[in-house]
């Protein structure tokens, strides 16, 4: 430091040593992270769990204020917007009528067939506290965590469509990796054709569809839902619609409103039970094991 130049004879080397130690320690942290990532990630979550909720008192009003200013600017187009909304509402009413009729019909048919749907999907609703803070990572932090029973891997939706999955749970907070993040991979089904594929995020608003078997069967506008493959997610959660990107790749226009994620539902999904056992010989309980071995050797 410039002001210590007179004392540099004894202070300079100590200072240089300290700086060296700091750099060494920081690089050490990086190396430990690279070697034992889960432990350091847990530490990271613990830090976030401690730091971010203490910001919360200021974060909510500032976010609200900025959004208010944004809304105020949009008041200028209020009249035009109002007209558009009225027109849209008229169309929606027709659709609502159709949906109600279909719902009744569906309920009747299900009842006739005695079908049991998966009734286990209940949810916890959380508020978005912060985003990832970096243009390179697409994730948000929710204000629900392990104390609310959140578990890693659960799907997260806004009111309409899938938003992402829980990846990292602290005591009071949980991180949601959005579908747009480069590390997000979700198994999907494209609906009328039933094609299975993977939705891989690439840091753009419309993630591309990967590993599609037969692209001819898929048209822009097709519905995309989760497939439940691999037991990662429950099946049939709405993701979005197929769209053709500028680069001629099939992409998905997400149904969830990514512009303003505010309240998110975390679905309590349990892994469905898999049948691993190929089935074994049925035998009376008291048959000795030795006899069984003989029977198997003969057969």
């Amino acid at each position: 430091m410039a002001q210590n130049r007179d004392k540099e004879d004894y202070f300079g080397p100590i200072r240089r040593l300290l700086v060296g130690l700091i750099v060494f320690a920081l690089l050490g942290v990086f190396l430990i992270w690279r070697i034992d990532s889960p432990r350091v990630e847990r530490f990271r979550l613990a830090v976030i769990d401690r730091v971010v909720p203490s910001f919360d008192w200021a974060m909510a009003p500032v976010t609200g204020l900025v959004n208010l200013v944004g809304d105020f600017q949009s008041y200028q187009q209020l009249a035009a917007q109002n007209g558009d909304l009225r027109r849209e509402l008229q169309q929606m009413k027709a659709w609502k009528e159709a949906a109600l009729q279909l719902e009744q019909e569906n309920a009747k048919l299900l009842d006739l067939n005695n079908v049991r749907l998966d009734a286990k999907l209940t949810y916890v609703t959380g508020v978005v506290m912060t985003d990832s803070g970096s243009p390179f990572r697409q994730s948000v932090l929710l204000n629900v965590g392990a104390r609310d029973g959140i578990v890693d891997g659960w799907p997260t939706m806004d009111g309409i469509g899938l938003v992402g999955r829980i990846s990292g749970v602290g005591d009071k907070t949980a991180r949601v990796i959005l579908l747009t993040d480069t590390s997000s991979r979700i198994p999907i089904t494209i609906q009328p054709s039933g094609q299975r594929a993977i939705l891989g995020g690439d840091n753009t608003l419309n993630p591309p569809i990967e590993f599609l078997e037969n692209a001819d069967l898929v048209r822009p506008g097709d519905r995309v839902v989760t497939s439940g493959d691999g037991g990662v997610f429950p099946a049939d959660l709405l993701v979005g619609q197929v769209a053709l990107g500028n680069d001629r790749r099939m992409r998905v226009r997400l149904s969830a409103d990514y512009e303003r994620l505010e309240f998110l539902r975390v679905l309590r999904s349990r892994p469905h039970e898999d049948i691993f056992d190929p089935g074994s010989l049925l035998a009376p309980q008291d048959t000795p094991a030795a006899d069984l071995a003989v029977i198997e050797a003969d057969g």
């Binding site: 410039a2 002001q3 920081l26 050490g28 976030i48 910001f55 985003d131 243009p135 990572r137």
Partner: protein, 179 residues
């Protein structure tokens, strides 16, 4: 007013810390969760470099190390890497602060730009060597260039609003040491 210069240093340090925390806070606000097409400048890095070049005594190395480790943790970056690189860069600039002081702004800008490019490239290089998943190259470059472009603005704000001026030649602190 005998103690004025020393207490002014502490006030300067507190102001630097407060600005840094506000910048981190602003980046965490969930205003728009869409993936961006372009990247905003890294204001915290620009501010830190401006402070180190102009008033090194306001930005102690411990504070810089702590702040950047915190941002590494909060912003989902590999923890420690950027912090270590920034500490090295600020130490190099700090050692040259006396000679940079006499330079015109353009030359200072050149030094800082070289430093920012160095940190970005080294960060990427190390991440490539240890094979971690990386951010898109385009966005990284945009952020680097934006940070360099906006550096003079940060300097102007620091100069005119927060009074972070280069010490004049021959200026002394209260113990008679030259600044």
């Amino acid at each position: 007013m005998v103690e004025a210069p020393t207490s002014r240093v502490w006030v300067g340090r507190l102001i630097f810390l407060a600005i840094a925390l506000v910048l981190i806070f602003a980046r965490l606000l969930p205003l728009d969760t869409r993936p961006p097409i372009w990247a905003a400048p890294d204001w915290l890095l620009a501010a830190t470099l401006a402070w180190v070049v102009r008033r090194p005594d306001y930005a102690p190395v411990f504070v810089i190390a702590g702040l950047f480790l915190l941002t590494d943790i909060l912003f989902q970056r590999p923890p420690g890497l950027v912090a270590a690189l920034v500490v090295i860069l600020t130490e190099m600039l700090r050692a040259r602060a006396l000679s940079i002081r006499d330079m015109p702004l353009a030359l200072e800008w050149g030094w800082v730009a070289t430093g920012i490019i160095g940190v970005t490239l080294l960060d990427r290089l190390v991440q490539t060597v240890v094979m971690t998943p990386q951010a898109p190259l385009g966005l990284t470059l945009i952020q680097m260039i934006m940070t360099i472009i906006f550096y003079p603005l940060v300097v102007a704000i620091a100069h005119f609003i927060f009074g972070v001026t280069r010490p004049a030649l021959g200026q002394v602190d209260n113990r008679g040491h030259r600044l």
